[in-house]
């Protein structure tokens, strides 16, 4: 198949950052194009993160059961909690059955996996300028925000050349998760540590106290659960095999473009734009 690998420049397709790994498109039969989307480090860190986050959520729910209440402020308001957590089904817990000591072991071990993996991913993303290319929305992206919202609302997701780069909603969601929600998870978690409080006490003050940090930790976790539901749903909806193949092998198939037949002008100006 090597002889069919063509450099992007010769095909006239946009020199997207996906080509920065030095791999061009592969032309497949029927006008389909195989494009190299995820370098090895991104794929490995993605699946490590999946493992860590799932275990963190399930062990976190077990830890929550030791004191199934949430409060705002510095201290716990016994008898007048902000929220009382309802019983949580056993199959959602790591380990199975309420066990604070063991749940903490799972939680803190995989917190370290999450942090180290996340730091490597972030360093790579910034140094390789991959975030700039693939994730940071351009002005043109932002200008197309509302049209993109409409397309999402109609469950219309392009599978052709337009899918080569993430759309503006994808970009904003990934940036929000990577730079806001996941770091929030770490900062709110660390702020519950009495050891860390001795140097990071200002973070406690910003959040309004340790019980606020604990509640924000739970809310960030809920946002991550919400992201996972939508993300996995869209992975299935927009082509489960193709998406999974991309995150395992790195290669993603673009279907032949159908826009010429439909005479849809909108994507034309977006096509030529370097992302």
């Amino acid at each position: 198949m090597t002889d069919r690998v063509i450099d992007q420049a010769t095909t006239g397709s946009p020199p997207g950052p996906s080509g920065s790994a030095g791999r061009g498109d592969r032309i497949l039969p029927g006008g389909r194009v195989d494009t190299y989307r995820h370098p090895p480090l991104v794929r490995v860190s993605h699946w490590l993160n999946v493992t860590a986050v799932i275990i963190l959520i399930m062990s976190g729910l077990n830890i929550l059961l030791a004191h199934p209440h949430l409060d705002w402020g510095r201290v716990t308001n016994f008898g007048n909690h902000w929220v009382d957590i309802p019983p949580i089904p056993n199959w959602l817990l790591i380990p199975q059955g309420r066990n604070l000591a063991e749940a903490r072991h799972w939680h803190f071990f995989f917190a370290w996996v999450f942090v180290i993996n996340g730091l490597i991913y972030l360093a790579y993303g910034f140094i390789s300028r991959r975030f700039n290319g693939r994730l940071w929305p351009t002005r043109a992206d932002l200008a197309g925000f509302w049209p993109s919202v409409k397309e999402h609302a109609r469950f219309h997701f392009p599978k052709d050349e337009e899918a080569r780069n993430y759309n503006v909603i994808q970009k904003l969601t990934y940036v929000f998760m990577i730079l806001v929600v996941l770091p929030m998870m770490l900062i709110t978690g660390l702020s519950m540590s009495p050891g860390f409080n001795a140097v990071g006490g200002f973070l406690l003050d910003i959040m309004g106290g340790r019980q606020s940090a604990r509640t924000l930790h739970f809310i960030s976790g809920a946002l991550i659960v919400g992201f996972i539901v939508v993300h996995v749903g869209l992975v299935i909806w927009t082509g489960f095999y193709n998406n999974m193949r991309a995150m395992i092998t790195g290669w993603f198939v673009l279907e032949p473009s159908s826009h010429e037949a439909e005479a849809a002008p909108a994507p034309a100006d977006r096509k030529g734009e370097p992302s």
């Binding site: 198949m1 090597t2 690998v5 791999r23 090895p40 490995v44 830890i63 929550l64 030791a66 004191h67 209440h69 510095r74 201290v75 716990t76 016994f78 380990p95 604070l100 000591a101 063991e102 903490r104 072991h105 799972w106 803190f108 071990f109 917190a111 370290w112 660390l190 519950m192 540590s193 009495p194 050891g195 860390f196 409080n197 001795a198 140097v199 006490g201 406690l204 106290g209 340790r210 019980q211 604990r214 395992i248 092998t249 790195g250």
Partner: protein, 256 residues
């Protein structure tokens, strides 16, 4: 199949093998998986906190207006041991704190002796491992003061706190104990508190004397202290892991 594809596959195979080896390594101690996770995570947490947090860095202190109206008494709240009951009924007049083990001059101190020494008052938060928080004011003598008075022998490594209480609330249940290293023992906020919120420490909160080691969780704050023993290793402690709760699966280093 191109070389590129082959390289990629073998790279993935190697990555997969590495994950497998890591998983096996995690189990190599022949303990349960969670126990292996505790060993690695606790070591990483303790070492990185010791590395990144200056020895003298203080836990946050709060204003008098921020003291909790209700401070939940947890664990033992009324020890059943007859020796304790006798002392308690006499208002702890006959109480003597023993400081011994690897020291040059063992001490035996009454509450009056302790109150005559320089005291420290601090308003700090108490973070239970379960997740709740309360803020209280503590007054007591710095542990370092007593250790310097007794004079640590060169081989001293850990301070063990032997307590009157058993969590079973019975006479013969396993007695509570805790231990800390010399870094925490010498920390400015590590005190043996005899007053809480401006009043004599009550029985539910550990009368006559309890430990405050403010950069760790609640279960390290040993109540009803009977004796302070200086040792050189965990082998010299009452249980295998250096504390009542650590012996039951919790981390010895409770900084998180």
């Amino acid at each position: 199949m191109s070389d590129m594809t082959f390289n990629r596959r073998s790279w993935l195979a190697r990555a997969g093998a590495a994950v497998g080896v890591m998983t096996l390594a995690a189990c190599q101690r022949g303990q349960t998986i969670s126990e292996s996770l505790r060993v690695s995570a606790e070591a990483l947490t303790r070492r990185s906190q010791r590395l990144l947090i200056p020895r003298e860095a203080l836990a946050p202190e709060y204003k008098a207006t921020e003291i909790s109206a209700f401070f939940k008494p947890n664990g033992s709240i009324d020890p059943a041991a007859s020796e304790y009951v006798t002392l308690r009924d006499a208002g702890f007049a006959d109480y003597r704190l023993l400081v011994d083990g690897l020291v040059e001059r063992p001490l035996s101190l009454s509450l009056t002796d302790l109150r005559e020494r320089p005291g420290r008052t601090q308003i700090t938060k108490h973070d239970c491992v379960e997740g709740w928080t309360a803020i209280g004011q503590w007054t007591g003598v710095r542990l370092e003061t007593l250790l310097d008075e007794a004079g640590l022998k060169p081989e001293a490594r850990y301070i063990v706190f032997h307590c009157f209480d058993a969590l079973t609330q019975t006479e013969d249940g396993p007695r509570y104990y805790e231990s800390i290293d010399l870094i925490d023992a010498r920390h400015p906020q590590t005190i043996l508190a005899y007053d809480m919120n401006g009043e004599t420490l009550g029985v539910p909160h550990g009368a006559p004397l309890r430990l405050r080691v403010e950069r760790q969780l609640g279960y390290k704050q040993a109540k009803y202290i009977r004796r302070i023993e200086v040792v050189d290793s965990f082998e010299a402690m009452p249980g295998p892991r250096g504390g009542y709760w650590p012996d039951r699966g919790y981390e010895w280093y409770a900084g998180i």
